[in-house]
């Protein structure tokens, strides 16, 4: 059978081109996702700042929740949304250990310099003076003396840029406020780092907005102490909740964002990769089934001449073994390129820290090639089963009529897949945030498998219902309608990939569109401010809101701090957005309309014991008015506040609302993000704006209502971009599969087209018939895919936005015209090629 397989592949390579293309793109997509997964698992960063520090102690960067007892114990860990901090008192305990030469608390906060030098100086980092030892632990030869409170030491480069010399003064804005400082000395930028301002140790903590807390504690060793021994001593001194890092782990301490970046890469490579792999298998199986179905006559002849069903299957398997590895190997290169581009984009957009390199080992490649091979073999086996076992007499009949009714097994499985998909969709209503996209894709895939298995039903629907108006289309239309009715299997094979494209792109893009649309709508309705004070720098000090409230013509001014938190939902943790508001909560309604559904924000207290939540969050966390919620704030502080209000505009404004006092100390940078100002009745907005601008806060901008930035812009943008890339990757792959399938089916109709020509149809009439058929396929695919996308979107959109899905008109039109263009192009281009040959030659007895 080997020889037969090789002969067939060599003689008719074109018939395997379709299978080759499908396997090639499948390998590309699977390799890319696998490479991202592997990168996520192995990503590490070498320490840069902590390179000279042997041991670094940081607070545990994950939150943990444990459920169950004994064998059932299950711990879910999730990276905290912000940066956890250590108490500086720990430095003292560590320093007491014998092997420790010094334990330096590392405090850092954003600082802006104002007045003349501000523009050239750029954003600065404020640090405590002892932290200079982190950059260079060697005892300073002739360095500047320590600054006193009220004094600072600048690095030489910044001093040059700001045109300031030792003895001069500088106005600096810190989270604590704006003040003038005397420059006590300069530190060598090359040795200690640039763009840095060192404050007195005693003052730095208060200025940072987090008094008594440090980002990390750098531990220096006494000469003769080994790193491991030192680490053990530090661990003993530190106790629970503190991670002691040595070696490469220090890089993770330096870049706490690495944890969440790794999680995102793993989710991308794992969950999305899973869906992509399943789709690849699905597409390969469909293509191989089609290819074998087109050879049923040949198989019947082999059976008649004496090939057993097993020999037929072995031939098919050998063909797969010849084609699949080559196609898989060819797809690996583009797959790695795709992964590399993807990672670079994520780094550029801030989702992944710089310095993370793509790690594409042999495992993703082996999986890609293996998956393609296995699916080709499996598809070949399944597709060849019936023709191999059928009695040759039936198969060789002149009229190759297809079975009217689908097999029982296939129908049952198809219905099961559809039901499973619907059930999964209902479950998906409770999934939020990061998992939503993956769950939605899972639903889409399940429904698509059902649609594929129920192909004959889909074909019947398309040909009968949609084909009705075709009768009016003249002879080409009538022929197209007849072909559609008679060639149900061919029609189903063509409709399925178009439905796949529509379902994937529609779901991902409309899901994103729904979220963006609802958030924008909520912001439009919820923000009542007439003026918005923003900042071009890291933020606004807390005092600005109070000062703005006292400006004449202003009715209310509310400062908002944006942060994140983790909430406990059952046994798992989920991240959410937090809005901290300054001022009297009872007067909050002047500047922000939350659409309060129950309770009242006026009952909020600043001690963190009370909270207002969004209704969707209340649903998913199973908490009602008066109930308690378990939250981990940005820095890991756990609180259990009582819910005193439930409101409706969480997507646009924030899922959890608390007074600023309860939140600010725990956010990474203790600045206000914006200040919302409501004008008094009858005040002149322009005049008020001038007066606000005159407040003179460095880096401030005053705009009207449109300046309000919706929640967590960077994250939202990253999510939106990620969804778009997923849509392009999956949708693109499905589009290639659709084009591939259509080209295969058209080229297989060489004889039929030739017969039509001989019977008297002109080229134009034949093309017209094929055009109608292509439109039918496109329409059928759009309807089925659209229905699947809708069934998926309704519960998911309800869970995420509380409203019906929003279909951006641009997206809908784009998908519609894209599908039509795809179907038309893939049908008419090979058709023109077919019609180029002389009719008589093509219709002859030679196949």
């Amino acid at each position: 059978m080997n020889g037969l397989a090789r002969a067939t592949v060599r003689f008719r390579p074109a018939s395997f081109a379709g299978t080759f293309v499908a396997l090639f793109f499948a390998a590309t997509v699977v390799t890319a996702c696998g490479a991202l997964l592997q990168t996520g698992i192995t990503a590490h960063l070498p320490p840069v700042r902590y390179a000279h520090v042997p041991v670094v102690a940081v607070a545990d960067q994950d939150a943990h929740v444990t459920t169950g007892h004994g064998d059932d114990r299950d711990t879910d860990s999730e990276p905290l949304t912000g940066t956890p901090r250590l108490s500086t008192a720990l430095a003292g305990r560590i320093a007491a250990r014998p092997g420790v030469a010094a334990a330096v608390p590392d405090v850092a906060f954003p600082v802006t310099a104002s007045a003349a030098g501000a523009v050239e100086a750029g954003p600065l980092t404020g640090r405590d003076w002892s932290a200079r030892l982190v950059a260079d632990p060697r005892p300073g030869a002739a360095g500047p003396a320590a600054p006193h409170p009220g004094e600072v030491v600048l690095d030489s480069a910044t001093a040059r840029a700001a045109h300031v010399a030792p003895g001069g003064t500088l106005t600096l804005t810190t989270p604590d406020g704006t003040a003038r400082y005397r420059v006590a000395g300069l530190a060598d930028a090359g040795r200690y780092g640039s763009a840095t301002v060192w404050f007195a140790d005693a003052q730095a903590g208060a200025l940072s907005g987090h008094p008594g807390r440090a980002d990390a504690i750098a531990v220096l060793a006494r000469p003769g102490t080994a790193v491991e021994a030192l680490a053990a001593q530090v661990r003993a001194a530190a106790g629970k909740g503190v991670t002691v890092d040595t070696g490469d782990a220090r890089g993770a301490a330096e870049q706490p964002q690495l944890g969440s970046a790794k999680e995102m890469l793993i989710a991308l490579g794992g969950s999305f990769g899973g869906v992509a792999t399943a789709t690849a298998v699905f597409v390969v199986m469909g293509t191989v089934s089609l290819a074998i179905g087109q050879r049923s006559r040949e198989i019947a002849l082999l059976r008649a001449v004496g090939a057993t069903p097993r020999q037929i299957r072995r031939t098919v398997a050998t063909e797969a073994l010849l084609v699949a590895p080559v196609a898989g190997a060819a797809g690996i290169g583009p797959g790695v390129l795709l992964a590399r581009w993807w990672l670079r984009q994520l780094v550029d957009r801030g989702g992944v820290p710089h310095g993370v390199e793509l790690d594409a080992g042999w495992i993703p490649m082996a999986v890609a090639v293996g998956a393609g091979l296995v699916s080709a073999l499996l598809a070949g086996y399944l597709a060849a089963r019936r023709p191999a076992r059928a009695r040759p007499g039936q198969a060789l009949g002149e009229a190759a009529v297809e079975r009217r009714r689908p097999g029982v097994v296939r129908t049952v499985l198809g219905v099961a897949a559809v039901v499973g998909g619907v059930v999964l969709a209902v479950v998906a209503a409770h999934v939020t945030g990061d998992d939503a996209a993956s769950t939605a894709l899972g639903v889409v895939f399940s429904l698509m498998v059902g649609a594929a298995l129920l192909g004959p039903v889909v074909a019947w629907f398309t040909s009968t219902v949609l084909g009705l108006p075709l009768r009016a289309g003249g002879v080409p239309g009538m022929l197209a309608a007849a072909n559609a009715r008679a060639g149900a299997r061919r029609l189903a094979a063509a409709v399925t990939p178009i439905a796949l494209v529509t379902a994937f792109c529609g779901t991902l893009l409309c899901m994103q569109g729904s979220i963006t649309h609802t958030a924008a709508r909520q912001v439009r309705a919820g923000v009542l401010a007439d003026q918005v004070i923003g900042s071009a720098g890291p933020g606004l000090p807390a005092a600005v809101a109070d000062r703005a409230a006292r400006v004449p013509g202003v009715d209310a001014a509310v400062g908002v701090v944006r942060g994140g938190a983790l909430v406990r939902e059952g046994g798992a943790l989920d991240s959410l957005t937090v809005l901290g508001v300054s001022g009297n909560p009872a007067r909050l309604g002047r500047a922000v309309d939350l659409d309060v559904r129950a309770g009242s924000p006026g009952a909020l207290t600043g001690d963190g014991s009370t909270v207002a939540v969004d209704t969707l969050l209340a649903e998913s966390a199973h908490v009602k008015l008066g109930g308690r919620l378990t939250l981990w704030l940005d820095d890991g502080t756990r609180i259990r506040p009582r819910v005193v209000a439930v409101y409706g505009r969480g997507l646009g404004l924030g899922q959890v609302l608390m007074p600023r006092a309860a939140v600010a100390a725990h956010t990474p940078a203790a600045y206000d993000t914006q200040v919302l100002v409501r004008d008094a009745a009858g005040a002149d907005p322009v005049a008020v704006r001038h007066r606000l601008a005159a407040l003179g806060v460095p880096g401030m901008t005053v705009t009207d209502r449109s300046g309000y930035r919706a929640q967590n812009d960077k994250d939202l943008e990253l999510n939106a971009w990620a969804n778009q890339v997923m849509a392009v990757v999956l949708g693109g792959f499905a589009a290639v599969a659709a084009a591939n399938t259509l080209v295969m089916t058209v080229l297989d109709r060489r004889r039929e087209v030739a017969l039509l020509r001989l019977a008297g149809a002109t080229r134009r009439q034949v093309l017209g018939m094929l055009r109608w058929e292509a439109l039918l396929v496109a329409l059928g695919g759009l309807l089925v895919g659209g229905a699947i996308a809708w069934v998926t979107l309704v519960p998911v959109a309800r869970g995420m936005t509380g409203a019906a899905p929003y279909v951006p008109p641009g997206t809908a039109l784009g998908i519609f015209f894209g599908a039509v263009a795809l179907a038309l192009g893939s049908t008419l281009v090979p058709a023109r090629f077919l019609l180029g040959t002389r009719a008589a030659a093509a219709a002859g007895p030679r196949e």
Partner: protein, 268 residues
């Protein structure tokens, strides 16, 4: 291996006449169910002796092709039994039937007989390779010489004319020295001259090599090459003719075609 068995049986029972090549006992074939059922064969009883050339004729819809497929083991009858050289093949599994097709049965169809991706020689040797035997190239060359195509051994079917393709198909059918060769309208698509060559080939296989040939045809001239013509109408036997000549055959066919549906004749 099967040949030695046959020889042994023949040697062990020298007095008994050899079993007929093909025997059909009350073979029925029904498609569909209930009211919509189509009765393609309604109880056929027929014996075809060894070394005979039988033509099966009848108007369209009479069940000729179904008869051939049931007799050749390509299709399973709804009722009745088919015996090949005395062995009942009706109940055999698909695998066993397949093995029969490799060595003991050969056939030729009206068209699409050859695998387009294999050369002429590979097509002829296909049944042997499927059986797992080493391909006997000399035998293939001999059979190709018999059909006059020894020089085309390395060509592909696409490069041959229709008649040449049919001759290759016959070569393949004869290469394993089968007990019976079934042919379904082998000359249907050929011109008279080529048809005559093909029919002569088949007759030579019967007279020279002792093969048994069963041929379905609608052409009275083709039927005249056979020893006997059996007529089918409405799924039942409707008479036969020995030592046929084209005119007599044609006359019978016209008479059959003119008969109203539902009446059957007795088996001669």
């Amino acid at each position: 291996m099967e040949k030695t068995t046959k020889a042994k049986t023949a040697a062990a029972n020298p007095v008994e006449s050899p079993a007929p090549a093909v025997e059909l006992r009350d073979v029925r074939r029904r498609y569909g169910r209930g009211d919509a059922a189509v009765h393609a064969l309604r109880g056929i009883d027929l014996t075809l002796p060894r070394g005979s050339f039988t033509a099966v004729m009848g108007p369209s819809g009479s069940g000729k092709s179904t008869f051939l497929q049931c007799a050749a083991g390509l299709d399973r009858p709804t009722a009745g039994s088919v015996l090949l050289a005395g062995e009942d093949i009706t109940g055999l599994s698909e695998n066993k039937l397949t093995k029969l097709r490799r060595t003991r049965i050969g056939f030729v169809f009206q068209s699409f007989n050859l695998l387009p991706s294999l050369t002429v020689q590979q097509n002829v040797l296909l049944p042997q390779r499927l059986a797992g035997h080493r391909p006997d190239r000399r035998r293939a060359a001999a059979v190709l010489a018999q059909v006059g195509l020894e020089r085309h051994a390395r060509r592909r079917p696409g490069e041959l004319s229709g008649g040449q393709q049919q001759r290759v198909a016959i070569a393949r059918a004869l290469v394993t020295e089968p007990e019976v060769v079934f042919a379904d309208e082998p000359t249907g698509a050929l011109d008279t001259g080529t048809a005559r060559e093909v029919l002569a080939l088949l007759r030579r296989a019967v007279d020279g090599a002792g093969a048994t040939v069963v041929m379905v045809t609608h052409d009275p001239v083709a039927a005249s090459y056979a020893h006997r013509v059996v007529f089918l109408a409405d799924g039942a036997l409707a008479g036969e003719l020995s030592a046929p000549d084209p005119a007599a055959v044609a006359e019978r066919m016209v008479a059959l075609a003119g008969r109203p549906a539902g009446t059957t004749g007795a088996v001669a």
